[in-house]
Amino acid sequence: MIEGIDIQHIIIVSTLMFFIGVYGFMSRKNLITMLMAVELMLNSININFVAFNRYLHPENMQGHFYSLFIIAIAAAEAAVAISIIINLYRNLHSIDVEDVNKMKH
C-alpha cells in the first residue's frame, strides 16, 4: 500500500492508460503499433489487479498471481503475433491492416 494514496488514484491512472491503448488500437494502421497498443491495455489491467489485491485483500495474493499469469500470456501472444506479422510482410511486403484482407494465400 502506498502511503497517502487512495485506491481510486491508482485505478484512475490505469483507466487513462487503458483508454489511451484503445485510442491507439482504433486510430493506428500499422500492425506493430496496434500490437503495442494491446500491450498497453494488458499492462494497465495488471496495475488494476495489483492495486485491488494490495488495498482491499492483502492477506492473500490472488491479484499478484493473476498478474504473473497475464504477463506470461502477454509474452506468448506477442511472440505469435510478431511471427504472423513477419510472415505477412514476407508475403505482402506491407504490414498495414488495410492491405491484409486475406489471411489465406
Partner: protein, 169 residues
C-alpha cells in the same frame, strides 16, 4: 514523499502512453512503450511486490520490447515516417475514448471501496513464499494454472517457429 513520487510516476506513465500511440516514428513508439513498462514496474515496487516488478522488468522490458524492436528492424526502414491515418478516424476514436474514460472515472470516484477483513495481516511477499504458493497443491496453491501456462508457452513457441519459418520452394 511517497505521494510526490507516485504523482511523478503517474505523469511519466500517462505522458509516455500518449506518446506511444501518437508519435510518427515507429522505433520511437517502441522506446516510449519501454518507458511506460518501466514506470509500471516502479508502481509495483512502491506497492512492495518486488517479485512482480522484477518479472515485469525482465519479461516486458527485457523480452517483449526487444521482440517488437527486432520485428520493426525486420519490416521497416528505421527513419521512415508512419502513414498518417485520416483526421476523421482520429477525431471519432478520440471522442469515443474520451466518453468511455469519463464514464469509467465518474463511476470509480463514486464507488466506495471497502477493504476486506484481513487488511491488517498482509501476506508474506517474499520470493520464498511465492515459490511455495505457486507449486503447492493445497489451498491457495497455483499448481494447475502454472502447468497450463507452461503448456501454453510451449505451444506458442512451436507456433511462432512454424509460422515464421520460410517455406521450401
Amino acid at each position: 514523499m511517497e505521494t510526490i513520487i507516485f504523482y511523478i510516476i503517474s505523469a511519466i506513465l500517462i505522458v509516455f502512453s500518449v506518446l506511444t500511440v501518437t508519435t510518427n516514428k515507429i522505433l520511437r513508439a517502441a522506446v516510449y512503450l519501454l518507458f511506460t513498462l518501466v514506470a509500471t514496474a516502479a508502481f509495483y515496487f512502491m506497492m512492495e511486490y518486488e517479485f512482480l516488478a522484477a518479472v515485469q522488468l525482465t519479461v516486458y522490458a527485457g523480452g517483449i520490447v526487444v521482440l517488437i524492436i527486432f520485428s520493426i528492424l525486420l519490416t521497416h526502414q528505421i527513419n521512415m515516417d508512419l502513414e498518417k491515418s485520416d483526421r476523421l478516424k482520429k477525431i471519432s476514436s478520440a471522442l469515443i475514448v474520451l466518453l468511455g474514460s469519463i464514464i469509467v472515472i465518474f463511476t470509480i470516484s463514486k464507488y466506495p471501496f471497502i477493504p476486506g477483513s484481513g487488511i491488517e495481516d498482509a501476506a508474506d511477499t517474499s520470493i520464498n513464499s511465492i515459490g511455495r504458493q505457486l507449486l503447492s497443491y493445497g489451498e491457495g496453491g497455483y499448481i494447475l494454472p502454472f502447468e497450463v501456462i507452461s503448456i501454453l508457452l510451449l505451444a506458442a513457441m512451436i507456433a511462432a517457429i512454424i509460422i515464421a519459418k520460410k517455406e521450401k520452394e
